[in-house]
């Protein structure tokens, strides 16, 4: 019962904002007669999502697969690279500035190049973009997590004469989980955005970004906006699934248990 109350307390304002927001949006569009190019009414978006669902959803899934592929590859590589790099302090100091600088590079500017490398219409070039976008946040976050262990915990392990591998497996890895999930959540959104923006520079005919661009070009704004909303929904769902996994695996962490003393 107390749990239910907490749930309501946490989510009711957001739900209320959603309901009022949609109502105001619908009202404003009709009342001010806003062109459906700029912003269609929520009702017409929902209608289009249903009426064009075949086309829309297959496009969204296509792009989602690009994003997912890139996510898996980029995050795994980023994690592994962090495990290797975190081991040696010198290597860490050498790599960190590059990892940070790479985060400052507009990766998306490389989309035309990956298109040239792997072909415009295949999934590969967008997957590569998504993977690169995911790699660096994962690298930085995982590295931070692996090195954030308290010195006392390490001293304790040394007093047990534990070897490096044991320390890694039993202490560093579990304590880095919050950071790893933080990186994963950032990566979900980056992967999705990367896939869609990558499409803009040229992509398969069935990809969501390409379709949205095409619809804008032929003034099919209902479809374009429906596509945009769908892209966002996929991004949110992707993020949400990772957050759910986090909640399930890290029930012990303060941020999940709300730092309550039971």
């Amino acid at each position: 019962m107390r749990y239910a109350r907490r749930f309501v307390h946490d989510w009711l304002p957001a739900v209320a904002v959603f309901v009022f927001g949609i109502a105001i949006w619908e009202g404003a569009v009709r009342g001010f007669d806003i062109q459906n190019f700029l912003l269609p009414a929520p009702s017409s978006i929902v209608e289009t999502l249903w009426s064009d669902r075949g086309e829309l959803w297959s496009a969204a899934f296509f792009t989602f697969r690009e994003a997912l592929g890139g996510f898996v590859i980029g995050c795994s590589l980023g994690f592994l690279a962090a495990v290797v790099v975190a081991r040696w302090r010198l290597l860490r100091a050498a790599v960190m500035p590059y990892a940070i600088a790479a985060g400052a590079v507009p990766i998306i500017a490389f989309a035309p190049i990956t298109n040239n490398w792997f072909g415009v219409t295949g999934m590969t070039s967008k997957m590569v973009i998504a993977a690169v976008l995911c790699f660096f946040p994962m690298l930085v976050n995982t590295m931070r997590g692996l090195t954030s262990v308290s010195p006392s915990a390490i001293e304790l392990m040394r007093s047990y004469a534990a070897n490096e591998i044991a320390v890694f497996r039993r202490v560093r890895l579990p304590s880095s989980l919050p950071y790893v999930f933080s990186g994963l959540k950032v990566a979900t959104v980056l992967a999705m955005i990367g896939a869609i923006v990558g499409d803009y520079f040229g992509g398969a005919p069935g990809a969501l970004g390409v379709e949205i661009r095409r619809w804008v070009g032929i003034f099919a704004f209902d479809q374009a906006w429906a596509g945009i909303v769908l892209a966002s929904m996929f991004g949110i769902a992707f993020y949400g699934s990772v957050a759910l996994v986090e909640r399930l695996t890290m029930s012990w962490h303060p941020s999940i248990r709300g730092a309550h003393r039971e």
């Binding site: 904002v17 985060g103 590079v105 040239n116 792997f118 933080s182 999705m192 520079f201 374009a224 993020y239």
Partner: protein, 299 residues
Amino acid sequence: MAYAAPAPARPRLLRSERVRDGGLRVGLFLAGLAVLWGLWEGFRFVAESTGLRLGQFEANDRTMPHIHDIVAQLFEPSRRNGPLLIDVLWDAALFTAKEAAVGFLLGAFVGFGLGVLLAHSGLLQRGFLPYIVASQTIPILAVAPMVVVWVNPRLPDGLKDWGAVAVIAAYLTFFPVTINTMRGLQSVDPRALDLMRSYASSSWSVLWKLRVPAALPFIFAALKIAAPASVVGAIIGELPASIQDGLGGAILNFNQYYITSPTRLWATNLIAALLGITFFLVVLLAERVIVRRAPEHVA
């Protein structure tokens, strides 16, 4: 999401140790550049000799131009009888930088304001935070044409076109600033708050004298993410706005000539990368001066 921890305070080192540390850093940095160069040329060499193919990809002058060719291209004319590529790109970079900087400042102020608002009201936070997070899932590139059409007529003549791009850049900038401002403001030790209340301080003083200074490290951590993001936003924003003068336009332009002259696109990307890094370094420098805490290599 996109919340970056502030850099931990570093212990004070002796001057001799700092100099040696600095020298080591520079050395490692140059070594790193050399390693990257080596990896590039090495990979290309191996791939070419063994005829390695990854799907459609094979290494040659078109797909992996030599680094020295790319750099050399900068000093070639950008088109027949035209100005040098590097001059063209320099102007383009400045143009994009202008859009990005304005977008960055706009996004930073909006982000800061939102962060202050959300930090002060748990209700507002619970109500609006999910949508602020969700806003970043909207592919801004797809929405950009609409933004341009809506914003442009409302701008004074001098700001037309690139003003809309600045708005798009601001869109990518405000989010990390909002999240981190919120966390930073809420990170204050409750006892420090009690102390302020015991002085009968107004909410306003508490904000500016206690919370904001405490939040500065967090805010700068966010600004370091936001600065390059504003460059990305500017480049992306230029595309649907069909702006020729910036790096986005240059990328689209040279993309069309990629088959005949791949090095031009690569050179453009190099300049774009340098622009992003420059923005990052500017914020890093500002952090050093304002927060006076030597930033660790942590975003």
